[in-house]
């Protein structure tokens, strides 16, 4: 059985550029990240014997890189696929299926060059029971439960806006972040309406970019030039492809499996966590994540963020790269959350949390449809 610290991340890198990359196709963004991650840890393509990716088939990736791997994971459940890839890769390496796994993300989300994003099938359940009523992309679907949450939990429009304000503070410290100018709650509430109650500053960016991770056994990790980042615990789940069928509009069932499973496997308590990433496609995601992972009681996360607990200088620094709201968001942002957790554990983040030893990285896929969580540490 996979034990904490058995497996480590030894290579990690994002695409060379970030934001608008008109010179690269979707597949090349995967390759650019992969080559950067190989360079990061001093490996050759031929050292990779396992691959995982989403948004491109692993067959495309293997062929393009020129390798014939022994381990393949094409789990594609949206933006948290990469957290799940980490979990599966750790188990596979531990079980001896392979030794060195490359996980890639690349998405031409803005330029849309060679982007593989099929339209909803009209015969699918979502095609029959959601699409005829006019949802048009994530801003009109992911956001649907929020008015219910606000009514039941007492979250205010100002508290929801404040999530974006705090994340912009982190982004201001990060030269690679797309948006770095400070914003106020008033700015957010006066920004362009997208889908009431959501305004544009409460919605993620749409960018081009990618990232890659390379995992191997902790024993081998000692021989690498990079500081090993150990995997302490992982979790995954899926709930529904239809936002209207989410069981509880104030909480994600998939979060409540993935998050606690990872935290339990890691053998940690919430108070041990130095750094937190919660995938923020929209401003309400960190609120649901903080509560479903047990960092806050139900209904308390809005006030928790407002009290600056997750802001620079707070006790639980969260989304320290600026998040999907201000750093970057290609479409499947989970890889960028993982990259920031790894940077924080290596001590190389732009907004480094001093002395951070434990990072929890939590992802969402689809519209609350899927979830994956990884707990990292830099302590052997």
């Amino acid at each position: 059985m996979l034990k904490p610290r058995d497996i480590a991340v030894v290579g990690a890198a994002e695409t060379t550029g970030l934001g608008k990359i008109p010179g690269m196709s979707n597949l090349q963004l995967h390759a650019d990240s992969a080559l950067n991650a190989l360079k990061d840890c001093g490996l050759k393509i031929t050292d990779i014997d396992g691959i995982a990716c989403a948004g491109e088939s692993p067959t495309n990736l293997a062929h393009y890189l020129g390798i014939v791997p022994k381990y393949v994971d094409g789990t594609g459940v949206g933006g948290c696929s990469f957290m799940i890839h980490v979990r599966h890769a750790a188990a596979a390496i531990s079980a001896g299926l392979c030794t060195t796994v490359l996980i890639t993300h690349g998405e031409s989300g803005s330029s849309r060059i060679g982007l593989n994003r099929p339209a909803a099938n009209p015969a699918s359940l979502a095609g029959q029971f959601e699409m005829p009523f006019g949802p048009f992309g994530p801003p009109t679907m992911f956001t649907i439960p929020v008015l219910r949450y606000m009514k039941e939990r007492g979250l205010t429009h100002e508290q929801l806006a404040n999530v974006a304000v705090v994340q912009r503070e982190w982004a201001a410290m990060n030269p690679r972040a797309r948006f770095r100018d400070p914003i106020t709650v008033e700015d957010v509430l006066n920004s362009r309406m997208i889908a009431y109650p959501f305004r544009i500053l409460q919605c993620c960016l749409v960018t081009d970019g990618g990232g890659a991770l390379i995992l191997t056994s902790a024993e081998r990790a000692k021989d690498f030039p990079t500081k090993p980042v150990y995997i302490l615990g992982t979790g995954e789940s899926v709930e529904t492809p239809m936002i209207s069928q989410m069981k509880d509009f104030t909480s994600s069932a998939a979060f409540k499996v993935a998050g606690p499973t990872a935290i339990k496997a890691a053998g940690i308590s919430h108070a041990d966590v130095d750094h937190l990433m919660i995938y923020d496609a929209f401003a309400h995601l960190p609120i649901y994540g903080l509560e479903d992972l047990g960092f806050c009681k139900p209904g308390e996360a809005g006030a928790f963020i407002e009290a600056r607990n997750t802001a620079p200088g707070g006790k639980l620094p969260m989304n320290t790269n600026g998040g999907g709201l201000s750093y970057t968001h290609t479409g499947m942002y989970g890889m960028f959350a993982l990259q920031e957790s790894v940077r924080q554990m290596r001590g190389t983040a732009a907004a480094q949390v001093p002395g951070a030893k434990l990072s929890v990285c939590h992802g969402v896929g689809g519209m609350f449809g899927a979830s994956g969580t990884v707990v990292f540490t830099n302590v052997a």
């Binding site: 359940l125 029959q128 005829p132 006019g134 949802p135 649907i144 209207s244």
Partner: protein, 136 residues
């Protein structure tokens, strides 16, 4: 009445009865005959147990407004602003819909307001289960 560019559902063998019912203006749901549990969307077994001891029945058409967003931008088949709503049926399940005969504003769309079924013809084969504020 509805914009023909609106995305059109394509029934499958498991959902055909639902769309046939809508053509007659009836909202058909399914329930577990052993426990009475009502579920949606349609499938020929009870989710979570797999029991096939089920029946199709006509729902009351009564619902409450459970949650929504108001889309501010155009989408194929829709003119903004329009609300994309989820209603909770009196029988328990929730479904996505649109609210007709009602201003598409936060002031008019009040959570938990009572609604009633407004079957609305899209074309010869599809009638959509829309809802309107309850007249009762």
């Amino acid at each position: 009445m509805l914009d023909p560019k609106r995305p059109k559902p394509l029934p499958t063998p498991e959902t055909q009865h639902f769309w046939d019912g809508m053509k007659r203006g009836e909202l058909l749901l399914q329930r577990d005959k052993d426990t009475g549990e009502v579920y949606f969307p349609p499938r020929p077994f009870v989710p979570g147990t797999g029991s096939t001891n089920i029946e199709v029945f006509k729902a009351s058409g009564k619902a409450i407004l459970y949650s929504y967003v108001i889309h501010a931008n155009p989408a194929p088949g829709f003119t903004p602003p329009y609300a994309i709503a989820v209603v909770q049926l009196a029988e328990g399940p929730r479904m996505m819909t649109n609210i007709v005969d009602c201003p598409q504003t936060p002031e008019a769309l009040v959570l938990d307001m009572p609604l009633e079924l407004a079957p609305t013809v899209l074309d010869d084969t599809i009638t959509l289960p829309l809802f309107r504020p309850s007249k009762a």
